[in-house]
Assembly symmetry: C4
Homo-oligomer: 237 residues x 4
């Protein structure tokens, strides 16, 4: 190997040759992108600039589609962020390829303010709503596939921690294989039943709020005792 | 339990089954959202784009309502952030439900640039000001209720640290139960006395600046000695 | 004291009763605001939306004032951030009032995208430039006074570390007392010599780039040896 | 030295007199700027505001240039961020001048949302594309030169860690000397073959995705064993 030219040495595509990083900087970057994309959603909530005096309340009431879109968009960002925190807690660290997969997934998630604006505009028309559901479904499908790849890659190269609860891990890995079906389904439904597609997408996000925290994270903390006042007043139960 | 199907195992709704996380990633996400929402306020401060040459000073003076709205909005963001730092210092960590409550509260707080823009537009008209006060009151009410829930949930599941000063804790918990009354009051007042409502809302935020730091946080530091120059010049006191 | 009502206990205005926090969360919040305000400057750099095909280069050349304003604004943000990192390295931690002073100073600094936009608009007209210099001077004056207050407060309540180089500390503290004179001067100059005022403001920022790093910060690191290739070629010096 | 005036003491331009900082705060600031600039790209993706009902899908399809520009801009931000994380892992810390070089490089990178918007506008016209390629080439050239300076400065003042793989370091340092040639080339090509220039710029960024992770970072982690299911099925290889 010593006789290779300098530009042929010093790098390798084999994961086993790469030293993993801790999540540190990657977590900060990911948190930044999620926080910004979630907060940018509010930029779309704009009061009409030329409302007649005294008409502000009336005008604000007209923005109902934007409020719904904000709620849906924020839910999606929160659910996405919860998954990255879970991964952070379940993984020993990230190597080069895991980093690239994480960055690719946030490149998709960072488009949420765009798809949310499209959704807000589309809520008044059935055809347009179909378009918006297809856009959101497409983005979500790619994000979910990248995420499933990341999970399986992490396991196959030894980046998963040993002390993750096996039941929780099995549940999470199998779910990650199944859920990409949902955006495919909503894509298909969007042509005839866009509202059904939208509701399914929201339900999928709500599913992402479910607790899977049976693993003690590395910076894990112990609970203290419950407050005495509660323990000594069993009559309240 | 071993004979349950995989999708029935691996998760549980009971908090006692969830391992708490440290605040780490959640704190970074929350800091990001607060920092962004606070900084986005400045986007609303826009100099008129087509001012005649030499008229810039005159035009900027017209923006007075925006400056006030910026100050009020920034105050609100700072006060909200101070509470999350206090919680971080007082809590052992966060579990799944505490995380969801924190995320819900910042979903409300992230709307501050919107309510601030509405307020800036409304400052010139009494009816519109009432609308803006109602909007801000409504959002603040939800945020304060979520925050009170978070406090009581944290205590009941053993996430509060033992070494928090009991007086400070009692004061904070009782205040958290009382203050949601203020936005209810300002909502009611907004119909006839919008300015009184606005002043009360600002005062409530000022109240949030009060010090409650009698607890040594986990990353606590000790003060050094006061500088010699001061100690040796008692005559100045 | 035990017979005081609950709302009279649990808080105190005396700094000595407050446990200092580490810079942790405050540093993250401050970094966030500086990073966002610095990056928002680029939003003002907008290519003309309806340029005729082939005319883009010509149109971009017209944006020269915006480029200068971006450079000045970014310089100001970097210099401000450098001071907060220096403080972080020099201080044991922050207490309640130090936190409030830091938050107030970033509330002023977060207005930089606004003052930068005003400056970009004003660069073509002498009167408007005077207005822009007065706006920037006013904001900078408040920020510098708050910063000097923060320095002296930190020293007086024992938040400064003992191992800061005494010469560097003396230099920094005395400079902090002197520099607020500069924006007062540029304010006065802006009426007749706005360009002189602008140049002085930029020079003041350049001054903030000077190194004062003779103190080993708490997360200090040691330098390694210089590379052998340099040590063995003294002839190059 | 003791008889020097106070304003002549306390600072020094010689790097050897400066105590290096850890990357901590600088890393957070840099992550913030990269995260924001990457996420701001999505602001340029705006659905047409006055699309006729039912025409949303048609209108979105027209935005193809913006989608490409977003992908290119995001790629550039990710590649830039990967280099700062590598530096963080390879360096002992940063001193004053290394900090200034990092801040200068992110001041250039923060302009990516601007150059991306220009690119999106230019994709329809050959002359305009040449302008956009020249703008991007110019910015990238400055950023790459600053980065090469930073690398060599870090080595010469002993800020590089000893345990970086020598082959990886040699490869990286030599590449850093060579790659600034690429934007010079694309600048020249942009006059006659703008598309070739654009493709070369994208390829340069793709090159930045290559793994060079053969060094164990300070917060390094070990890989766990590969999952048993894989090890017991060698037939799959």
């Amino acid at each position: 190997m010593a006789d290779k030219r300098w530009y042929k040495r010093g790098w390798s595509f084999r994961p086993a040759d790469h030293a993993p990083h801790g999540w540190g900087r990657l977590g900060a970057f990911v948190d930044g992108v999620y926080a910004i994309a979630a907060t940018l959603l509010v930029i779309e909530l704009r009061p009409p600039e030329h409302a007649a005096p005294g008409e502000l309340g009336h005008e604000l009431a007209q923005l109902a589609p934007q409020y719904w879109a904000y709620a849906i968009g924020f839910l999606q960002m929160i659910v996405g962020w919860l998954q990255t925190r879970r991964l952070d807690a379940w993984m020993r660290g990230v190597d080069h390829y895991a980093t690239l997969l994480v960055l690719l997934s946030i490149g998709i998630y960072a488009l949420t303010p765009f798809s949310t604006t499209v959704l807000a505009q589309a809520l008044g028309d059935n055809d347009d709503l179909g378009t918006a559901v297809r856009l959101t479904s497409g983005l979500l499908f790619v994000a979910l596939v990248v995420f499933a790849l990341l999970l399986h890659y992490s396991r196959s190269v030894g980046l998963l921690r040993d002390d993750v609860d096996p039941d929780a891990r099995t549940l999470y890995f199998r779910s990650a294989m199944v859920v990409p079906v949902v955006p495919v389904l909503t894509f298909a439904l969007s042509f005839d039943f866009p509202w059904v597609g939208l509701v399914l997408l929201v339900l999928l996000n709500v599913l992402g709020l479910l607790p899977l925290e049976s693993h003690r994270p590395p910076d894990g903390v112990d609970r203290g005792p419950r407050p005495a006042s509660r323990r000594h007043r069993p009559a309240r139960r």
